[in-house]
Symmetry: C2
Subunit: 149 residues, 2 copies
């Protein structure tokens, strides 16, 4: 799926260029927040070949992230495991403290909803937790040459 087709057929808004997190990505991603209350949910879209760096979602309790794949073709990989190819309808439960990356295939755009998993705070503090979680995404290694596709 090319980028224009993904943008035109997207159910949820594609949003804006993901400038705030650009330093954690190779390539161009797009971000649209869908829910900041209760559970934080965002629509994340990747242009072909765009992937985020290896990162970990830290949490004292609960935490982690759920990906719901809505369009295109991409990958999810946990450290030490083979990459898993993702298609629309696939769901990925990412536990806290697990090093991983996700993003588009080289030749396809890709889109997933991302739900963060609170588990230890009332819903009203959702927005600030989302910020804290993004700070916890430490890019440790560039993807290039490390992943098997």
């Amino acid at each position: 799926m090319d980028w224009n087709e993904l943008k035109e057929t997207s159910i949820f808004p594609v949003g804006q260029p993901n400038d705030a997190y650009a330093r954690f990505f190779d390539g161009q991603s797009w971000l649209q927040s869908l829910s900041t209350a209760q559970v934080g949910i965002a629509n994340v879209s990747f242009e072909p070949g765009c992937r985020n760096h290896w990162h970990i979602h830290h949490a004292k309790q609960g935490g982690g992230q759920i990906l719901l794949v809505t369009a295109g073709r991409g990958y999810y990989q946990e450290w030490g495991q083979p990459a898993r190819e993702l298609h629309p309808g696939d769901v990925v439960n990412i536990p806290p403290e697990v090093k991983h990356w996700h993003g588009a295939a080289r030749d396809s755009a890709f889109q997933h909803l991302a739900s963060r998993c609170p588990g230890w705070r009332p819903p009203t503090s959702g927005a600030s937790r989302w910020t804290r979680q993004s700070i916890n995404c430490y890019p440790e290694l560039l993807l290039q040459g490390l992943v098997t596709m």
Copy 2:
């Protein structure tokens, strides 16, 4: 959108007839669990004219539900408020303790993802919490004649 079109174009699996919760619905709904760990997420599909009864999601802390509309046309209504028409891409944050219903328009199938909002328990207890929450959905009034569409 008719039911067959919704079924054939659904990104996430439509699943099985929603027999377990049938007593809380007028009409035929379909249910597919997408995530039971971390945050419980399900794909809920409604045949045309199918709606659930007025119900409340009780919670000691956190709680409530988020709807992410993926197909068709439907409604969400809170007690004492006008019904809100829903289309693909719409998001509804349903706070705990708020009486509400949601479902399809009379002449269209409808589909939303439903994310429950834990907020007070570690992710490993997700499955049992979902069961408890469904028991908390008390049908109090039939929709017929009560809603304005």
